[in-house]
């Protein structure tokens, strides 16, 4: 009896690890994140990804395929085409899409956001745009027609840095659940502290625009500090419907 209970527990844990936010079948070989604990009792979809592994090559920053993940981007299929634009493609976050004239290229990512192609970037501002974001956790779903991340590539003391997150965590309400207690947090290289960040979401019942600055984290001096930003929802809010658009911006100071 007791042995069966333990086995059942292991099966449930394994299943949970498999279904969480598309991480279970990553086609790009990115490390699978363990399922985050959801203290809310399962009202939310938690997305944990975003990882940057870089090297400098021929005067460009190379964001390495298979080792880097785009923040917040999870899909229901593999080898998704994502677009890379020059500059801030959502200077007005209500813009439908960035101008096609600023499109640099498309590249592939796996269902957990892992890059399948290297990205070679010069020092400037970029926008990555993905469509049909979908995260599933059991019967719960989160959908967004579009997600865009605007980031900077810049040099500090001659060394390339980027505001692309080293870690990204979003707790979105599942479709049909209240919006309260959801959040988006990410951290970037320490040199981004003081830089402006923006979170914009457009949904059936309106829009949310939040601006914050990258802050030191942890707040007290420590050996591995980095730049951190957190966008928290207000209490209340209606039940979430599929989201039209999410735009996240992370700018250098």
């Amino acid at each position: 009896m007791r042995r069966n209970a333990v086995l059942n527990g292991l099966v449930i844990l394994a299943a949970a690890a498999f279904v969480i936010t598309g991480n279970g079948c990553g086609g790009g070989g990115g490390a699978v994140q363990p399922p985050p604990t959801d203290p809310s009792g399962g009202r939310f979809i938690v997305i944990e990804n975003g990882r940057v592994q870089t090297e400098e090559k021929n005067g460009k920053l190379v964001i390495k395929a298979d080792e880097s993940q785009l923040p917040g981007m999870v899909f229901s299929q593999d080898a998704v085409q994502v677009e890379l634009y020059r500059g801030d493609g959502f200077a007005n976050p209500r813009t439908d899409t960035p101008p096609s004239s600023s499109l640099i290229r498309t590249f592939r990512v796996s269902r957990d956001g892992t890059l399948l192609d290297n990205l070679e970037l010069e020092e400037r501002r970029y926008t990555v745009v993905a469509t049909n974001i979908e995260a599933r956790q059991g019967q719960k779903r989160f959908r967004s027609n579009l997600i865009a991340f605007v980031f900077d590539v810049y040099k500090v003391n001659g060394v390339f840095q980027t505001t692309l997150p080293e870690a990204f965590e979003a707790r979105f309400p599942a479709i049909g659940y209240a919006i309260e207690d959801s959040y988006v947090r990410f951290r970037s290289h320490l040199s981004a502290v003081g830089g402006q960040c923006l979170f914009f979401m457009e949904r059936a019942n309106g829009t949310v625009t939040m601006t914050k600055q990258f802050e030191f984290w942890p707040p007290s001096p420590a050996s591995s500090t980095h730049a951190n930003v957190s966008f928290e929802s207000l209490p209340g809010g209606p039940e979430l419907e599929p989201v039209q658009r999410i735009v996240v911006k992370a700018f250098k100071p």
Binding site: N205, G206, T207, M210, L234
Partner: protein
């Protein structure tokens, strides 16, 4: 051209033309409403134009702007709206009158500017149908108003049914009092019952110029629709926070002053 500018120009033009109209055919009103409850304030400014089509029918169009501030003064919710109304007397006897009112209110997007960020909410729409029955009894007039409002707000919808009792006590030469008490059933998921009480004193200031001073009190908050605050309370369907929700969920009251110019 922005809507408030158009509204202001229309109001001025209509006010200027009032004198040229047959008696009481055109009324132009400006209404200010204000409240401060538990540190929260609310300001409303309205313009209302009423045109009498014939002896039984009149149409009205109005504009209003709301600003609700929280205890932290930098936190504010603002919206504006316009509405169209039609009133028709269905039956008119010597001492009885039954009239039908149809009204559509179209709010603009609501904006909550708070410390956490800027939150906008899709414009709600409220359709209200009401029946007013009045009976003249000597010098006093009493009546009942039955109303039904349907509120559409993004993916949300609510129904409000209200039944009010209206009394116009004896009328003096230059002023008149109106008392009203109503019970509203508010259905948005669950059903809540809210009562609203009001008293208004109106006075003739001069030829073609009237003033109306009123107070409205809602012991359990205002219903989603059916009152003069409906363009604000309709946003509570989104549960946008205390800036709006406290006007629906907590005791609230409001003072109003209306100045009306009409052909007299």
């Amino acid at each position: 051209m922005r809507l408030p500018v158009v509204a202001a120009i229309l109001s001025v033009l209509l006010a200027a033309s009032v004198r040229a109209q047959p008696a009481d055919n055109v009324r132009v009103s400006t209404i200010w409403r204000g409240a401060e409850v538990e540190g929260r304030t609310l300001w409303v400014n309205e313009q209302l134009v009423t045109l009498r089509v014939d002896a039984r029918t009149q149409v009205e169009v109005g504009w209003q702007r709301f600003v609700a501030k929280g205890r932290v003064r930098t936190n504010r919710f603002s919206t504006s709206s316009r509405w169209y109304g039609l009133q028709h007397v269905l039956r008119q006897d010597n001492d009885r009158q039954l009239s039908l009112s149809l009204r559509r209110l179209e709010a603009s997007e609501g904006t909550a500017d708070v410390a956490e960020g800027l939150f906008t909410y899709t414009a709600p729409r409220i359709d209200t149908t009401s029946l007013l029955s009045l009976q003249h009894d000597g010098k006093r007039t009493t009546g009942y108003r039955l109303s039904y409002s349907r509120t559409h707000a993004g993916t949300e919808a609510a129904d409000t049914i209200g039944l009010s009792f209206v009394v116009f006590p004896a009328r003096a030469a230059r002023w008149q009092v109106q008392l009203e008490g109503g019970l509203y059933a508010d259905r948005h998921g669950d059903t809540h019952y809210r009562s609203v009480f009001g008293a208004t004193i109106s006075s003739r200031l001069g030829r073609g110029l009237h003033a109306k001073l009123g107070v409205t009190f809602a012991p359990r908050g205002f219903p989603t629709a059916g009152t003069s605050l409906e363009a604000l309370t309709a946003f509570s369907l989104y549960r946008p926070g205390s800036l709006v929700e406290n006007w629906r969920d907590r005791p609230a009251g409001i003072l109003s002053l209306q100045i009306t110019t009409s052909t007299d």
